[in-house]
């Protein structure tokens, strides 16, 4: 009896399970997918490409919800859902930018932010799965490959279909083929946009205080070669055995830009942290991590390590520990991407107390060079959902950023409403928030700007560092006067670098290898071997520098192991390089 009941129960439960699985089909194309709530509901959801084509005829222009030129962008106000990683701006909805976009363009932005990239990735996955991507996604730093994959699957808007309403972006793509090549997939689609630093801030050097130069009896102006640098570090150590002559942070994948000064001195001009890739005169993509130059670089670093001229906590210290050492004066030469700000606070006047070392030569590098940062980061910053009801309006908003007026708008607001242009006695035109910022709530105008004026790193897709442009036009005397006297108007950082580069560098270059988009199949193919190869390179680098492995006896084994991966990876990068070269 009991057995029979069990069988009956099992049969019943099995039937229930089958019915529930069959009922899992669900409904596709729900009206709420990715759209705002305040517009007339359409009974069908059209694919964006179809809606763009449908609106082409002149007779249908009058029925468009948007204006092809001028502001407001839309004829009736619309609401779009916006999301992204929070970043420094805590409350996006409270910014002048969001409010002004609504007022000026007729687009209300409902903003949702997420604390960090990991949270965003999880939310993005759930939004993809539930077909509820927000209309506009920004302040992202996600992989180009994954966005291209999502775009090809139909989740993301293809900007190339909307270039007719994005004339400024179209013009920019035409005049900057490298930017176009970087963003365009092999089938001609553009699924995301990244920030371009057309003129970016200088981004690396080794710093030393002038007080230390005097104390230890040297001058950075006399350091021309890697041997000179070694001798100075040795002299420092002999005079003060307790001080750390050189400290860096080479843990993991970040914080390694300080090493670029030394790496460049050996002719290794790639800018990535681990892989040092180059393109030779014949267009061949090479991995410099296998070269004699790289071996010489590692040997030099090992020499510094063995003689305790390089901080033995280089591979393990955290940023906080590193900063703390520098602030306490325990280190003589150190690096920081953001300059002295990182450890000394935002006091521009302090640059006059410091010197920098950014270029040297060696037997592998005859002339002192400085590698400018690549104009594009290897990431996607802005994306639009393919299911949005307002692709044209959003594309026009994004296109505005590629005008001078639009660029200033996303950075500082509108002149006379949030800032005034101020030209100092030297002719540097800067933006002043005096008279606009809330001094009762914020300690500085910059803080007010990042909290209430703009959304940092969101739609500022086109960057031109005005302070760098300005200082490059100054004479040597004007530059020295700027560093000695100020003003403290944001030029000091650029002035510091300009002064250093004029004294030490013969030539500024871009790295010969620039990141290029890969197809999905290519990215899949090299994903695992590249991950393994990078891990191995980092491991060997640490072991060679720290002396755990002898570079002379183990170099061949290292080359063999890395080569086995590179042989799989090189053809993929070569194909991407050849495509980019063909499109120029």
């Amino acid at each position: 009896m009991e057995k029979r009941s069990k069988k009956l129960a099992a049969l019943l439960l099995g039937t229930v399970m089958c019915i529930s699985v069959a009922g899992c089909g669900g409904q596709k194309g729900t009206p709420d997918a990715g759209g705002g709530a305040e517009t007339p509901q359409s009974t069908e959801s059209k694919a964006p490409a179809e809606s763009a084509q449908a609106a082409e005829t002149a007779a249908e222009v009058e029925e468009l919800y948007y204006n092809k030129e001028g502001f407001p962008i839309v004829k009736e106000p619309i609401t779009i859902e916006v999301a992204g990683v929070q970043g420094p701006t805590k409350d996006w909805g409270n910014t002048y930018f969001v409010k002004k976009v609504e007022e000026m363009m007729g687009i209300k932005m409902n903003c949702t932010t997420y604390a960090d990239a990991a949270t965003w990735q999880t939310q993005y996955a759930t939004m993809l799965a539930s077909d509820s991507l927000p209309d506009l996604m920004m302040q992202l730093n996600v992989s180009k490959v994954s966005t291209n994959m999502d775009g090809a699957d139909g989740y993301l808007l293809d900007f190339s279909d909307y270039l007719d309403v994005m004339p400024n972006l179209a013009k920019y793509l035409e005049s900057h083929p490298e930017y176009a090549a970087y963003h365009t997939t092999s089938d001609g689609s553009i699924y995301s946009l990244d920030k371009v630093n057309e003129v970016g801030p200088r981004w690396y050097s080794l710093f030393v205080s002038k007080a230390d130069e005097e104390k230890y009896g040297f001058s950075v102006d006399d350091i021309k070669t890697t041997e000179d640098f070694y001798n100075v570090l040795k002299s420092i150590k002999e005079q003060d055995p307790d001080v750390i002559p050189l400290s860096l942070t080479i843990g993991g994948e970040s914080g390694q830009r300080g090493i670029l000064t030394i790496r460049n001195a050996f002719g290794l001009t790639g800018v990535e942290n681990t892989l040092v890739m180059s393109v030779d005169g014949q267009g061949q993509v090479n991995l410099e991590n296998l070269s004699d130059k790289y071996r010489a670089f590692l040997t030099y670093m090992n020499r510094l390590w063995e003689e305790e001229l390089l901080d033995h906590e280089t591979f393990i210290q955290t940023t906080d520990e590193f900063e703390s050492k520098i602030a306490d004066g325990k280190v003589v030469f150190w690096h920081s991407w953001s300059g002295i700000n990182l450890v000394m606070g935002s006091n521009y006047g302090i640059y006059k107390d410091y010197d920098g070392l950014c270029a040297m030569t060696s037997e592998y590098q005859d002339e002192p060079i400085y590698t400018d940062q690549t104009p594009y980061t290897a990431a996607a910053r802005v994306m639009v959902s393919a299911k949005t009801k307002y692709p044209e309006a959003i594309c026009r908003l994004i296109d505005y950023v590629f005008t001078d007026e639009g660029r200033r708008f996303v950075l500082s607001g509108v002149e006379g409403e949030t800032f005034d242009y101020v030209t100092d006695e030297r002719g540097y035109q800067s933006v002043s928030y005096d008279g606009y910022w809330d001094q009762s709530k914020y300690a500085s105008a910059q803080e007010w700007e990042t909290q209430e004026v703009k959304i940092v790193n969101a739609l500022d897709l086109w960057s031109v560092d005005a302070s760098r442009e300005f200082v490059e036009g100054l004479s040597d005397g004007e530059l020295e006067a700027l560093l000695d006297e100020g003003p403290d108007n944001g030029c000091m950082y650029s002035g510091f670098y300009e002064n250093m580069i004029r004294k030490q560098v013969d030539k500024e270059i871009y790295a010969s290898y620039q990141p290029l988009p890969l197809s999905l199949e290519e990215a899949d193919e090299i994903s695992q071997p590249q991950t393994d190869m990078e891990l191995l390179i980092r491991q060997f680098r640490a072991q060679f520098i720290a002396g755990e492995k002898d570079i002379d006896t183990e170099w061949d084994s290292y080359v063999r192991q890395i080569s086995s991966f590179w042989e799989q990876i090189q053809p993929v990068y070569q194909a991407a390089q050849d495509r980019a070269a063909a499109s120029r």
Binding site: G26, D116, A129, T318, D328, G339, T450, S463
Partner: protein
Amino acid sequence: MKRKHRMKIGLRDRVFLGIVYFVLAVYFLLMLYPLLYVASASFSDPKAVAGGEMVLWPVRPSLSAYRYVFHYKEIWVGYANTVFYTVAGTLINLAVTLPCAYALSRRDLYGRGVLLALFMVTMYVSGGLIPGYLNLNDLGMVNTRWALLLPGAVSVYNLIVARTFFANTIPWELQEAAWLDGCSDAKAFVHIVLPLSAPIVAVLAIYYGVGHWNAYFNAMIYIRDRALYPLQVFLREILTQGQFMAQALQGGAAYTTEEMAVMIKQADTANMIKYAVIVVSAAPMMAVYPFIQKYFTKGVMIGSVKG
């Protein structure tokens, strides 16, 4: 005059006891040190903490972190939400778990073995993050408080503990007597079984309550409205903010010097308050724990099979 008779402990036993006490002392210090470290760090200069100067006692003590925390409005919003989710969530948990456990403990419930087996399958196998999200999305619970109260209303582990308690502790004869007097199942549960089940109710309340207090993952996935976030999500934001800023500054070339200055200040603030926020969020549980400790230790064995 009475003399206390002390049992003589042999040398080997004394050595053994010494080793036991030594090991216990070591474990005690290992457990105590992180608590002391966090408490001391919350009163110390954040740069000293980050630089490794602070080892045990506060260095350059100040109350600036606590002052900032008490003015940080979102923390108090999170606190209120956490208290709500803990109280309401625990009540829902108990209201669902106890009747279910009682039903499964009844030997006259046909198919209870199959039902229990089905429950247990869910302990090892789940639909995963995306199906779970889709499910709640279809139910309209995403971005509502229900998303933190209803999913996980029954913990199968707790259900089994309660079921075992009911089966082994509540006399069957007592229930039979009640039925013979005309009591329904529901009345018997409410008027007879529950009053005798204070220990298991207390244990489940503690387990569920602590779980709700510390929970953040579901809030991170299902809630987008910051007014609904529990405290742990804000704490996580503060903890990750410092790291995010440091990584962004070191890894990216995309910020102006003014933005970097603001980010540095935000990272410093995050570093300054993170230990204070940890103390503030853990303090209620730590204050309550001494009073409920015996229920925790009881809870380990309360659902076990007896005799």
